[in-house]
């Protein structure tokens, strides 16, 4: 066994979800109008709009808008975090992987999960104790406001923009496929609904949309998995036996396969995914919706539990699809491939075990899932504009509550328009690289600044700005010069930078930059910042001085 294979395997665990998360690529054909799916989706929209109206009555201050007044419980927040993480693409993508190669799919979902305990042990409670509305509050806690906020808000917007485009394009494709709606119509519907949820209902509505969607998704997936288990007489062993007998790879689905490219890009993407999760602004923002560190910890525990359970379900669903879909000619095209591609494995399985009704339900849940994820992204982008850039940089912290709230709503509207336009512009583009880039930027700018500001006394404003800026620039530049953009988008023969994922390089540059430009910083500002560390540490450990729940 070579080192190459080892490294490849170690990162294999996390490679595919990045692509899976961008998901639904390639030519997608418009399908027949599906009335059950549309009725169920309309019921979901009706319910969420009703909740938005209720939430709007309770969204009166910026604390309500950004953080739902800090009044979400740990359990609710855990569900909402799980909702953010269980995107339609990860549901369809991971079950597709299991369907295609069995055991390998399980390796991927494990890689996706193991970042969460680390967030729990090292980040969650310190973040909650130090921040107010955004993770940038924490990064700028003892450093100079203007430069840090400008940088962190910019990288937040970059992350949000790429993630949002990938979701919008995925949404358009998926909806075209599942509902038979026109691509542009689908993108506009998604964009308008997300703006309505966020503008009127703020974080409270966004959280509940996320919770409802998480419950529907977990419920639907549990039902399908239950039906699969019933089919095999509740015996995993029988499930494996049947799967082996019908799968084209036979026994090979029962052990590690070979789905990995070169080890460097594998490690690189693995790093970006693990630490990118800990730097995603819309995930970090969720920790401010609970009242204190205790609830923040509970959130992560519930989230980890739900996400882990969900991955076990997707694994059963993938095997169920091998047995019930892969061998049934009504789901296959003339070449023996799955109709609509492997990403449709879970959708076809829903039909196989629950008929038209379950198919409609799962389609509606997939649509709802996309809506919930884009709403969360838009809200964190709006907060970067109104809270970090407008209130704390432009107005230097001197802004009244209502004015900031108004700016945040305008920012939401603007982001919605931009998201719709970009969604339409990028329809025919290959957007697979965008989710990877979003994770790489989060891991190379947000994560280093955040973790160093909390754990390392020596970090100075100069170090953070130079290091974070270099990380951002490196991640973007290497992605553009790499195969995903240089070859697949621009159409050149060979890439200038040979790897798909820049994370290994951009994270190294970021951490080195932060370190070098901090230790050589002998300014008076730098020693003031170091002197503030002790107070920050005590607050991060005890919560003394932390902002509590807002009062209504």
């Amino acid at each position: 066994m070579s080192l190459r294979k080892l490294l490849a395997a170690s990162a294999a665990a996390i490679v595919l979800p990045a692509h899976a998360a961008g998901a639904l690529e390639g030519a997608v054909t418009k399908s027949e109008i599906n009335p059950i799916a549309i009725a169920m989706f309309l019921a979901f929209v009706g319910l969420t709009l009703f909740i938005t109206k209720w939430a709007a009555g309770r969204t009166k201050s910026r604390a309500d808008f950004y953080a739902a007044g800090g009044g979400i419980t740990g359990f609710q927040n855990g569900l909402a975090i799980a909702g953010d993480y269980m995107s339609a693409a990860s549901f369809l993508g991971i079950s597709a992987l299991v369907f295609g190669s069995g055991f390998d799919g399980l390796i991927y979902s494990i890689g996706f999960l193991v970042g969460w305990p680390i967030i729990m042990f090292l980040i969650a409670e310190r973040l909650r104790n130090l921040g107010k509305f955004t993770f940038v509050d924490v990064a700028a806690y003892r450093l100079k406001q203007t430069p840090i906020r400008t940088l962190a808000a910019s990288s937040t917007l970059v992350v949000v923009a790429f993630y949002l485009i990938a979701q919008m394009v995925g949404a358009g494709q998926l909806i075209k496929l599942l509902f038979g709606l026109d691509y542009a119509t689908a993108v506009v519907i998604v964009g308008v609904l997300m703006v309505v949820y966020v503008t009127f209902g703020g974080m409270l509505a966004t959280t509940w949309v996320q919770i409802i969607k998480a419950v529907l998704l977990l419920g639907g997936a549990s039902f399908i998995a239950f039906m699969v288990m019933r089919h095999v007489g509740f015996s995993f062993d029988r499930m494996f036996t049947q799967a082996i007998s019908v799968h084209s790879k036979a026994e090979a689905i029962m052990g590690p396969g070979a789905l990995v490219k070169d080890p460097i890009s594998a490690i690189s993407l693995g790093l970006a995914l693990m630490f990118g999760t800990a730097g995603l602004p819309h995930i970090l923002m969720r920790f401010f919706t609970v009242k204190d560190a205790k609830e923040a910890r509970k959130s992560v525990f519930y989230a980890t539990g739900f996400i882990g359970y969900f991955y076990i379900l997707t694994f059963i669903i993938g095997f169920g699809a091998i047995i019930l879909v892969g061998s049934n000619s009504i789901y296959l095209d003339e070449k023996g491939g799955l109709l609509g591609g492997n990403n449709m494995a879970a959708v076809h399985l829903a039909h196989a075990v629950g008929g038209e009704v379950m198919l409609g339900f799962i389609s509606a849940v997939a649509f709802a899932t996309i809506l919930a994820v884009v709403a969360g992204l838009t809200l964190s982008g709006a907060a970067a504009v109104s809270h970090d850039l407008y209130a704390n940089v432009f107005a230097r912290g001197k802004v009244d509550d209502q004015k900031e709230l108004k700016v945040s709503r305008m920012a939401t509207l603007a982001l919605g328009v931009v998201a719709i336009l970009l969604g339409i512009v990028f329809e025919k583009q290959n957007v697979a690289f965008m989710v990877g880039l979003a994770f790489a930027v989060a891991a190379s700018t947000n994560f280093p600044i955040l973790i160093l500001s909390m754990f390392w006394k020596g970090l100075t404003t100069r170090g953070a700005v130079v290091g974070g800026g270099l990380g951002l620039a490196t991640a973007v530049t290497l992605t553009v010069l790499g195969p995903a953009v240089w070859v697949k988008v621009f159409g050149y023969e060979t890439p200038i930078f040979p790897y798909d994922a820049p994370g290994l390089f951009s994270m190294t540059v970021a951490f080195l930059g932060c370190w070098l430009f901090s230790i050589t910083d002998s300014s008076a500002q730098a020693s003031r910042e170091a002197a503030l560390f002790e107070g920050q540490l005590v607050r991060s450990q005890t919560g003394i001085g932390a902002s509590g729940a807002s009062s209504h």
């Binding site: 080892l6 170690s10 205790k294 980890t304 005890t542 919560g543």
Partner: protein, 104 residues
């Protein structure tokens, strides 16, 4: 936070106990999680045949129970942390709060 208050907390025996115990647990659990995860990955890389080995006389291979085990370990470890932190550590934190009269 006023300097005088800060120094009082930083010297407080409960504060010292809290930070010592909590960071020991946090780093220990982090290390266990990384060891379990990378242990699994090392098996995939160096001994894939171990994972392909059948358990009993059925079709199930060792890889599946181990893989599910990693998922359950992740959930279990976060559970242990929450249990310790929301019980023992929060009681210590509450004592610090009482002493300094800070808002919880």
């Amino acid at each position: 936070m006023p300097t005088e208050l800060l120094e009082r907390i930083a010297r407080d025996p409960h504060y010292l106990e809290l930070t010592r115990k909590r960071s020991r647990l946090a780093w220990t659990l982090t290390a266990i999680m990384l060891a379990v995860y990378y242990g699994f990955i090392l098996l995939i890389a160096f001994a894939p045949d171990v994972l392909r080995q059948r358990v009993g006389d059925g079709a199930t291979t060792l890889g599946f129970p181990l893989g599910i085990g990693v998922i359950l370990t992740a959930i279990l470890l976060t559970g242990i942390y929450v249990w310790k932190a929301n019980g023992e550590y929060d009681r210590l934190t509450a004592r610090i709060h009482e002493k300094v009269g800070g808002q919880p």
